[in-house]
């Protein structure tokens, strides 16, 4: 089912981009999306269990196969053979549709990621319009409007999540999905706003174009506004894929399991798969947007060699894919690490965090990114040697200062606001904050 959808959409997209031979399509679809990515996800699950275990002074799975490597396969078999249960009064079709939607969303976002550098072709520079050699990117589709496409397909996930909760006819599931929709709608905004500086600097919405631009001018995360955008993007990505500390939709301790409470067997497995695949996808997106994709740090190295021989191209793609995987792996480790450290947030704080801290910070960051654009990028647009040393450092100094000010200002205002509401609370009730009031309540009335 997923494969079908992916193929339909991808075929349509393919008609727009370059003509790709059917072999490549076949390989992407069946080796990539139907084979490699789910397998990869299974091993991300294994990795998470191992890493989380180490964080908690445990060993993790080690009984099935060497180092427990076959544990995921065993789990898969177990899930497949369990009873597929649908509650009697559930909305059957929607109940079945919801996990598929989530999986589709995760898979679709992988379709545009340039995992490697691909080859080189002559294209118009998005900023200056001059024809110059550009990376084509090793991706299933190179979509001219890749960034909005990513946002669009990731918003399908919240639809699936909502439908899962709603169709189960279970109040916990419904609560979970309500929370999740509120959360995902809120955190989509900082996530999208954090990508705007990238689009501004690259002058293109295509992920390959962004990758190409980064290989030329350096990774975006190494600039102060880019770093801020990276941090904001990561934080909101945590919320988008429902990972701790923003895992309120599934909150085991309060909602039992939230939206997937009524799911069992492989349909639950699909949720599991979708969650980890969207985590993987988000890490891939982040790597592409901020960490220079498969670029080796501080080098434009393989770029000049591409486009000659097919063998060389293949080899260089292998290298860039490896570097890409390494970066994605580090980001995924970050996900594990944060999950092992932070407790779940309270729902009102979650909302306040997005609306009162992240979004203002994003907007200010956008302005600072524009300053960076004016100082470092625009004056040298079209010049082959890129920004001068001095220019780069002036831009760095100015924007770094502004970023620090913006960060402290935003956090200070955020704190002021929460203290203000506390004070309002106190003056309105004539009592101390709630927890103290609770302690001083006489036990017998």
């Amino acid at each position: 089912m997923n494969g079908l959808w992916v193929s339909i959409v991808a075929m349509k997209m393919a008609a727009l981009s370059e003509p790709v031979p059917w072999v490549a399509w076949f390989l992407w679809l069946f080796v990539g999306f139907a084979g490699l990515f789910p397998l990869l996800v299974a091993y991300i699950v294994w990795g998470e269990r191992k890493v989380a275990a180490r964080f908690q002074d445990r060993i993790g799975p080690n009984r099935v196969g060497p180092f427990g490597l076959l544990q995921s396969i065993a789990d898969l078999v177990k899930l497949l053979f369990k009873e597929d249960f649908t509650p009697a009064r559930a909305d059957f079709l929607i109940h079945a549709l919801a996990p598929v939607l989530m999986l589709i969303s995760a898979m679709l976002s992988l379709a545009v990621i340039p995992f490697g550098f691909g080859s080189v072709s002559m294209r118009n520079d998005p900023v200056t319009g001059v024809l110059r050699p550009t990376l084509t990117g090793f991706s299933a589709v190179d979509l001219p409007s890749g960034v909005p496409y990513l946002i669009a397909v990731s918003s399908i996930a919240s639809l699936g999540l909502f439908l899962a909760g709603w169709s189960s006819r279970n109040k916990y599931a419904l609560l979970g999905s309500m929370r999740s929709v509120a959360q995902m709608v809120s955190y989509e905004i900082p996530q999208v706003l954090a990508t705007v500086p990238i689009v501004l600097w690259s002058g293109t919405l295509s992920l390959t174009g962004i990758l190409d631009r980064q290989v030329e001018t350096g990774w975006y995360v190494l600039t102060p506004p880019g770093f801020m955008a990276f941090v904001i993007f990561m934080i909101s990505s945590f919320a988008e894929v429902n990972r701790a500390p923003f895992d309120l939709p599934e909150a085991e301790s309060e909602l039992i399991a939230g939206f997937h409470l009524e799911y069992s067997s492989m349909r639950f497995g699909l949720f599991f798969l979708a969650e980890y695949m969207s985590m993987f996808a988000v890490c891939c997106i982040c790597t592409t947007l901020f960490l220079g994709g498969g670029a080796i740090p501080f080098l434009a190295f393989p770029r000049g060699l591409l486009g000659g021989y097919v063998v060389v191209d293949l080899f260089l793609n292998l290298i860039t894919i490896l570097v890409f995987s390494l970066k994605v792996g580090l980001l995924i480790f970050l996900f594990f690490w944060v999950r092992a450290t932070l407790p779940r947030m309270r729902v009102d704080r979650l909302m306040a965090f997005a609306w009162k801290l992240l979004i203002p910070l994003c907007l200010v960051n956008l302005l600072i990114a524009a300053i960076w654009f004016e100082i470092v990028i625009r004056p040298v647009a079209g010049r082959p040697d890129g920004p001068g040393f001095l220019q780069w450092w002036i831009g760095f100094g100015v924007t770094a200062l502004l970023e620090v000010l913006a960060f402290f200002g935003a956090v200070w205002l955020y704190r002021q606001d929460s203290e203000h509401s506390l004070k309002t609370w106190r003056s309105s009730t004539g009592s101390k904050p709630s927890i103290i009031a609770w302690r001083s309540v006489p036990t017998k009335v």
Partner: protein, 242 residues
């Protein structure tokens, strides 16, 4: 199941229609007729579905099919925006709205009288007529596709690859006035929403610049009054002032 059946039936009917009426079978035209037929069926489903959520889902399917049509027209940016705005935001908000009503499962819809349906029907028909006339006003409407002036390859490529840019320029230059008007409309609705969401009486209290205490004040006072009245059992202990 109903949805699936409807969609497939729509595809079948559309395919038959295609063969019987048009008597020409280009692959793209076939796809178009199928998608359009399914879209019309979804639209009908939206109106006829008994369950609010089902109705919203038909709408989502409809939006998605419209996005497919955009893709057929090679306007992938528009398609992406269609999915992003209508499925990602509008449909979700719609469902959120349903969640905020009493009827959470969405199945307590009573049939409306003809009188209440009438204005909607009039508006819909009016809109349809308006759009139809507008489309027919196009100078080359009656010409076959092959006879229309084809855009140059370079221009076409530029538009396809730089669609957001071209679209933005077009919106800010040629369609500036409608664009701004729509923006005004949205701002008005935003302000209206804020006004509606304010607790009663706090708009005037907040007008002198000092922030109003907000809705937090209401519950505790109400509850402490309750405590004074002796109905302690109904109040949460953490809201009580000693």
């Amino acid at each position: 199941m109903l949805l699936l059946m409807l969609v497939s039936a729509g595809m079948l009917v559309a395919g038959l229609w295609e063969i019987l009426i048009f008597r020409e079978f280009g692959p793209m035209r076939g796809v178009f007729v199928q998608i359009a037929g399914a879209a019309v069926l979804c639209a009908v489903g939206t109106v006829l579905a008994r369950n609010l959520i089902h109705s919203a889902l038909y709408l989502v399917a409809f939006f998605f099919l419209v996005a497919c049509l955009f893709i057929m027209l090679e306007a992938e940016f528009l398609a992406v925006m269609q999915v992003l705005v209508f499925i990602g935001a509008v449909a979700i908000l719609l469902m959120f709205g349903i969640m905020l009503t009493q009827d959470v499962q969405g199945d307590q819809v009573e049939a409306h009288s003809v009188l209440r349906r009438l204005p909607a029907a009039i508006v819909a028909i009016g809109l349809f007529v308006m759009l139809a006339v507008a489309v027919q006003q196009r100078p080359d409407f009656s010409k076959a596709r092959t006879e229309r002036a084809a855009p140059s390859v370079a221009a076409r490529e530029r538009v396809l690859n730089q669609m957001p840019q071209e679209l933005g320029l077009d919106l800010m230059q040629r369609w500036c006035l409608p664009f701004e008007l729509v923006g005004l409309l949205l701002t008005a609705s935003l302000v209206g929403a804020v006004a509606l969401a304010q607790p009663v009486g706090s708009l005037s209290a907040g007008s002198d610049g000092t922030p109003s205490p907000g809705s937090l004040t209401e519950t505790p006072e109400h509850l402490s009054r309750e405590v004074a009245g002796g109905t302690h059992s109904s109040s949460r202990p953490d809201l009580v002032s000693p």
